[in-house]
Structure formats: C-alpha cells, structure tokens
Assembly symmetry: C2
Homo-oligomer: 497 residues x 2
C-alpha cells in the first residue's frame, strides 16, 4: 500500500493548473477580479485589460458589483493618461459607430483634419461637432450646427436629454411637432447628406459600454472622476466618427465642475485624450456665472435661437450670439473651411447675414419630420401661468447662482429629476436682467412660465435666492476665458504631474 517513489518522479514538472492555484499565472485569460485588485493597488491597466473591462461592461458579462468596485478604485486612485485614452477608445468602439466617410455615404471622404488642413483643397465635408459640459440657457447647438454646416463642414451631432439642473438639446427640439430625434444611422446619414447637420439621440447600439458604466457610476458615487467623465463624454462624441471636435467647458456658478481648476483640468484632459484617439480637438473655457442668453427652457430657447439666425439682435441675447459665433468659427476652422478661428467666425457671421444658417436649420428640422411653420409663431407653446419676479432692491445684479436657477427651470416643468419623466415644452424663465445690470426696486427681473399657478411659487423662491444685489457693479467676466489647443492642454497636464 505504501509506495515509495524515486527523485525523478518527485522532480517531475507539475501541471500548470497546480501552479495556477499556488501562484498567479503570468499569461492567463483576464479576470475582472485581477483588474479590480490592480487598480485598488494603484496599478496602471494595460490597453488589453481596459478593453476586457469595457467589453465585459457592454456585454454585461462582468457583473455590476465587479464593475462598481473597479469604478470606485479608479475614482479613489485615479487613472493614468494612457488608461483614460484606452478607456475612451474602447468605449467608443464598444458598439455600432457612425462613419461619415464610409464609401458611398454621399458625404465624401474627409482628408486632412488638422488645424487648417484641408483648407482650399476643395474636399467636401470634414465631420466636426461641438460638445458643451452643459449650462442654463445653453442653446448654442441650434446655432453652431447650422452655421458650421452652412460654411461647408458636416455636423453629425448626437445629443442628450435634460437631467438635473441643466437642459437637454433633444427636449428642446421635441417642442417642434413631429421632430424625430431617434433616427437610424441610415436616416442620420441621409439628413447629413441633405442638410449638412443633424441632431439626434443616442441609439442603444451606440456606445453600450457607456450606458452600463454611466448608470453604475450614478448609483455608486463614482460620477465625479475626471478620467471617467472624459471617457464618457468623448466616447459618445467620437462614436460619430468625428474628424474634429470643439469643446465648450463651462466655469462659474452653474458649471458641472464648480472649481475652475477642475474644469480646466477636465478640458485639457479631453483635448489630449481626443487628440490621442485621432480627433483634432480644442476646448474653450466659457462663462456660466449667469444663464447664456435671455431664455432658459425648451420652446423659448428655440425661439431665441431662431431669432438670432434670422439676424435679429437684442441686447439680452448678445452673449449667446457671440459665443455661438466663436464656437462655430472654431468648427469651421478645424473643418478646413477657414484660415483661422477668427476667419471662421466671420464666415459663420456671414451665414447669419445671408440666411444660409437659418436655411440649414429649417431643412434639418423638416428632414427630421418637424413642422417648421411653428417656428414663425413664438407663442406656439403658451404657458398656463406666468409670474414676474420683481427686484426687491435697487442696485447692481452682482451674482446669479446658475445652478439654483437651473433647478428653478427644472421645477417649472422644463427639466426632469429622473430619466424618463416628461417635460413641459412651454415651461422656462425669461431673464430681463443680467449680471451687472442696474435695476430699481419693482423692476421686473425675470418672467417664469409654467403650466399652473401652483408650479410657480417654489421656482420663484429659488430664483429670488439665486440673485444677489450690490451697490457697486461686479467685475465683468470674460465670455471665453481660455482656449486649450493641444499644446496648451499638454502644458497644463504637465504641471499636474
């Protein structure tokens, strides 16, 4: 029964599976648990490891608790630049993508997408988009998309809905009867070929990894991570096959990132990451210390935009006009249709004057099923009740808490607290005073629009809390405070190392 063995048997190499249980193997199939531990222990994941995680998220083969643990480890220990790039690219590629340059698309092949490249070569249709980190009254999409398209670039814009205190481009467009945001990629392409611009919603097949990861981040306190935010924003934008991208990163009381340094860091991170992923990108730091333009809501934002495209000018909308032209100017420049951003600005302004921008918007709305006739009637959507909030002091409007104003707009019915809730097309706020305005007691500050009287009191109180008066005029804040091209973005990130 007892069996003595010789040394050669004892020395015999043991099966790999025994090694596997005793020591972690070096070249093994990837396991989520190992990638969690690696990030937990401050390691840097390889591109293949990031791809594995993202594929597991998209296919839901990695369970939510493992993704959540990895996200928290990433939130706390941070992500390296190469991890953020790999995450962005893997997420971008996690589902169906739009290719504006596919042979036979009718959009032509984009050649030369660098700063100024493609200029004068007569090659049609470089794909350029703009993304904003979101703010109250921010409706530049309705201006920059048609203006840039009118100047010869193609703008395949995949946009989002209102959530929390900021509005949603799609909700605003859906104030137009018939307007369809849920186009197939074929329909999207057809609208782009016809009009040069199209604004649609994300399809479930596009960037599925972000849908899974974002929902998890929302539930697990892991939203506010620069690397995760960067990858989430860029993956969705870059899945539209962009050659170039202009980022509008807000700073001030209504910005997603409150601290200026945080917002600048995110801007620089997005520029370097998108460039590393092959898309020419610039980021503008822009003011959100007050609402952009005079109106915040859904229908009323469209009305303000159309007025500007018609060439009408009102003092209350000048900041919106200026920022839209600056952004469109960068889009036209990066799209190779102008020698400089300034020259792009001039071209975009000309597209207002000659009506070509308005024409693109109307064609786009019609192509997506919208009834363009309603845009001739500013009162097409009428609120059931309104409230004028008057100044309770005489003095300068010194500060506007834009986040609180955003909540007021949301509470009026224009936004939503939870995904899936309906919004009221007519709800919103028309601001009659701006930061720096001098007002006298009793002078109207803003008019609130809602469905019923009972919906007005709370937003009115929020608005009142959001505005601060002073005896002296506040220092002016520049509309665009800084521009991050690749070199400037790299310089800022270098300082952070």
């Amino acid at each position: 029964m007892t069996d003595s063995i010789d040394a050669s048997l004892v020395h015999a190499p043991i099966h790999a599976s025994v090694h596997a249980s005793v020591h972690a193997p070096i070249h093994a199939p990837l396991h989520a648990i190992d990638l969690i531990r690696k990030k937990r222990d401050r390691g840097t994941l390889t591109e293949a490891e990031i791809r594995f995680l993202v594929a597991g998220a998209a296919s839901e083969t990695i369970p939510p608790e493992q993704l959540a643990a990895w996200l928290m480890a990433a939130w706390l220990n941070g992500l390296a630049a190469e991890e953020i790039r790999a995450l962005t690219v893997a997420m971008r590629d996690s589902g169906v993508k739009f290719d504006p340059h596919r042979p036979g698309s009718g959009l032509g092949t984009g050649l030369g997408t660098g700063l100024g490249a493609g200029l004068g070569k007569g090659l049609s249709k470089v794909a350029v988009d703009k993304h904003s980190t979101g703010g109250v009254g921010d409706k530049t999409s309705f201006l920059v998309a048609p203006l840039a398209a009118a100047c010869g670039v193609v703008v395949p814009m995949i946009s989002g809905r209102a959530l929390g205190h900021t509005g949603g481009t799609l909700d605003k467009l859906e104030a137009i009867p018939g307007y369809r945001t849920a186009l197939s990629l074929e329909e999207f392409e057809a609208v782009l070929v016809k009009c040069g611009a199209s604004i649609v919603s994300q399809t479930p097949a596009l960037v599925p990894a972000d849908r899974v990861l974002y929902a998890l981040r929302d539930r697990t306190g892991t939203v506010e991570s620069p690397g995760l935010i960067c990858a989430s924003i860029l993956s969705k934008k870059l899945a539209a096959g962009l050659d170039a991208l202009v980022l509008d990163v807000k700073t001030g009381s209504g910005a997603f990132m409150r601290k200026r340094e945080d917002a600048e860091y995110l801007a620089a991170l997005m520029v370097t990451t998108a460039e590393a992923a092959g898309t020419r990108t610039v980021a503008l730091m822009t003011d959100m210390s007050q609402p952009l333009g005079a109106k915040a809501g859904n229908w009323i934002e469209l009305v303000e935009s159309v007025e500007l495209l018609r060439g009408e000018r009102k003092a209350e909308s000048e900041d919106l006009r200026e920022l839209s032209l600056i952004l469109a100017g960068w889009m036209v420049y990066l799209g190779g249709q102008a020698e400089s951003p300034e020259a792009g600005y001039a071209r975009a302004e000309a597209a207002i004057v000659d009506g070509s921008g308005l024409r693109v918007l109307m064609e786009m709305i019609a192509a997506q099923g919208g009834d363009v006739a309603v845009l001739d009637d500013p009162d097409f959507h009428k609120p059931g009740a309104t409230l004028v909030v008057e100044a309770w002091e005489t003095g300068y409007v010194a500060a506007m808490d834009t986040t609180m104003l955003g909540w007021a707009v949301q509470r009026l019915g224009a936004g939503r607290e939870k995904a899936g809730e309906p919004v009221d097309a007519h709800a919103g706020i028309h601001f009659h005073a701006r930061r720096g305005s001098f007002v006298e007691t009793g002078q109207p500050l803003a008019t609130l629009y809602a469905t019923t009287e009972s919906m007005l009191a709370e937003p009115g109180s929020l608005l009142r809390r959001a505005i601060v008066f002073s005896e002296t005029a506040p220092a002016p804040v520049p509309l665009v405070s800084r521009v991050f091209t690749l070199a400037e973005a790299e310089a800022l990130l270098h300082q952070h190392l």
Copy 2:
C-alpha cells in the same frame, strides 16, 4: 396672463422637497448612495448608517453594485474603530441568533464573564468559544471544545468548511458516519445541555449580512481589509451568544495574514471590537510556520485528536497538545472555572488524564448522530494510494512553506477550491519530520494519502518545493508568541493611530 406677485409670496418658505433637491437634507431617510459618498470622502459612518447598510445587505434591498462600491471605498479609506464595532454588532444581529442563556434553555444563566469573574460562585455554564484564523493541521477544536466543556464551560461552536489551502472542521467531523453538522438551533441547544459542547455549521438564517457581504468581497477584491475581516469573523462567532472568546491568530508561512504586523493588528482589532460588543476576548498569536501536529487531512486529523484525548503522547503531536491545552486553559479561565489561564491549563490537562474530555467528545458525536465506534479503528478510512516522500538531502529541515503544504493537502482530495465540492475523508499528509528535525538522505519526510496513484504526483512535488534544508538548525519559533488581552490590544491600536 402675466401674474405679478408681491414680496411676501416670493419670500414664502419653500417646500422641503425643493431643499432636498438643491441641498442634501440633514434629517432625511438614509440612501445607500450618500453612505458610499461619505466613505469615499473619508467620512466616518454613524451607527445608524452602518445598521442601514447591513440591513440592506441582509435583505438584499441595497443592490450589489452599491454594496461593492462601499466595500471598495472602505477597503481603500479604512474603517474607524467605531465603524468596525457598529458593523460587527449590526452583522451579528442581522439574522437569527443563538442565546445560550435564554430562560428555560437548561444551560443556566451565565453571570460574571470577566477575567476570573464567576469563579467559585458555582454558577453553571458560561458560554465560551475559540476561533482560529486557520492553518494546516489545525485541529485544536476537537480538543479544546470537549476539554473546556469537561471543565464546566459550555462551548457553542459554529464552524466552517475547508476552502483554499486550509482545512475545515466540519469536513473533518463528517468523516464520522452519521455525524450531522446542520442542526437546528433547538437541536444545537439540546446537544449543549447534554454534552456541554456542540460543533455545527452556520444556518442560512444566522448572520445573513455576512453571507451577502462576504460573497461580494470575494468577487470584488475587498477581502483583505482588517475592519471587514474583523466584522465578518466576529459577527458569526458572536451570533452564538458568547460570553467569552479565545482567538487563535496564526502567524508564519501558512497564516491567512502573511505579515506579522498585519496579523497582530487584526488580533488587537478583534479583541477591542469583541469587547466593545460585550464579549470578553483574548487573542493568542500562534505559530503557523509548520503544520500543527503530525497530520493534515480530514479523518487522520480526528484520529490524532482522539489519540491525544486518550492520553497517548507522541513527540510528533506535542505542539498540538500544548497549544490545545493553552487555548482550553484560557477558555476555562475566561469561563470562570479557573483562577488563571495557567490554572485553566492544569484543569484541561486533568480532563485528559481522567478521560472526561474524551467522554464529552464521544457524547457530542453520538448526540449529533455520529458512529463513535469508528474512532476505535484508525484505519476506518483507508486511502487507495500512498506515497512516501524521502529526504533528498541530509540536514536540518529549515523551513516549511505551510501554504504550499496546505495546497498539497487540498490537491490530495482533502480540501476544495470551490464551495460545494466534495472532499475525500481518507486524504491527507502524515509528516514524519518537523521544522528543526535532522534527517538523512532517503529518510521518510512525509506520507501522502489519496484515492488513486495519479493524485499523488502533484502534491508530492508541492511538498518537495515546500521544504527547505540547511546545514544548521533553524532558530526555534515559540508556539505562542504574544497574548493580547484588552489592555494590550488597546496599546497596540494606540500605536497605530
């Protein structure tokens, strides 16, 4: 349509729900997301917050991804002493508990559970248990439970199964035909009343929060956190209604915590936490730089234990005898049946000599359905194949990698890699040499037991890799290197602050 309002309406206090969306409310119902953020941001959770998390885990009303994110935040940011205590107590109380002192239980009411308290008062049945962090050949439960019970304390021992490289008390007991580990709490109580000791498995109703949290920790890389380990171990032990607890914390090559400082920190943490939860507790740091006793497996560990209880003495089992008497001595002392741990040791040794310890074990086995007759036949379980590994050098056994030896035992069929796998009763290793033994080439080092020849080669190779020879004798390692009473545990934790 426009509706002007006066200042009193604008000033009217707004509804709390608006506050809730704008600023986090102070006295609101608890939400998991807020507790995740709090721990992420290095906050300390209140007792109520911990209770909310644990109740949500037990009832599975908090989803796995939220628990996982909280666990990772706790792993990375650590838990404060009061959080660990609250976690332990909340987990202990998360399901059904055993109460050895319930009126009418037949166990009497334990009075005075302090060091030496209750001594000589003639009050029956203080409930005392021992817990080991696990090691190879660690079979002290079969000795300390009957010996302590024979000395007048009651030992309600809820135990575990083999997993990974360490063996399981329940698997060993189940080598006895008929032995039932899955008793109801009523049956458990009845065995305790009759025999003074009972060794059973955890029921699903006991500490459900730990079952959920441990499974999550296992999948999310959050096992190795002192606070989480402490709460997991203690909650299960304290749910048996213990008045006192003796902890056997292993150090050395086969210990769960490899670094001595980590093991000492865990020991001190468990002592202060259990004491704060109302259970008198002591922790002994004991040696796991080699297997405990001469045998590691299932049936053969029982055989070795019964031999010692019969009063047989073999040099190869002396360390097991000594440690068992020390642990039982502490149990008897904390249980108020001796004036000091040393006096407890003497009483436990007397219970070997007079056969009362063996009698308790046999009665317990019989009461739980086991066939005690088989314990008279060491060959009741016979391996199908054996292998003697001989020394390949002449010299001293300088080191034994006990973790690797544990894997060898597991691979022989005595353990399992995944929960639910069967184990072989006859499998294991009989060690003929110990750390410090002088052996000559060809002299038997160990005999391996398995079901078939083919199962012997890999464990043989692991064993060979686990043993290191040297020309000089290694420095001896004390069996018990340190004892943490409450004061000593507090002193060590104070150093860590």
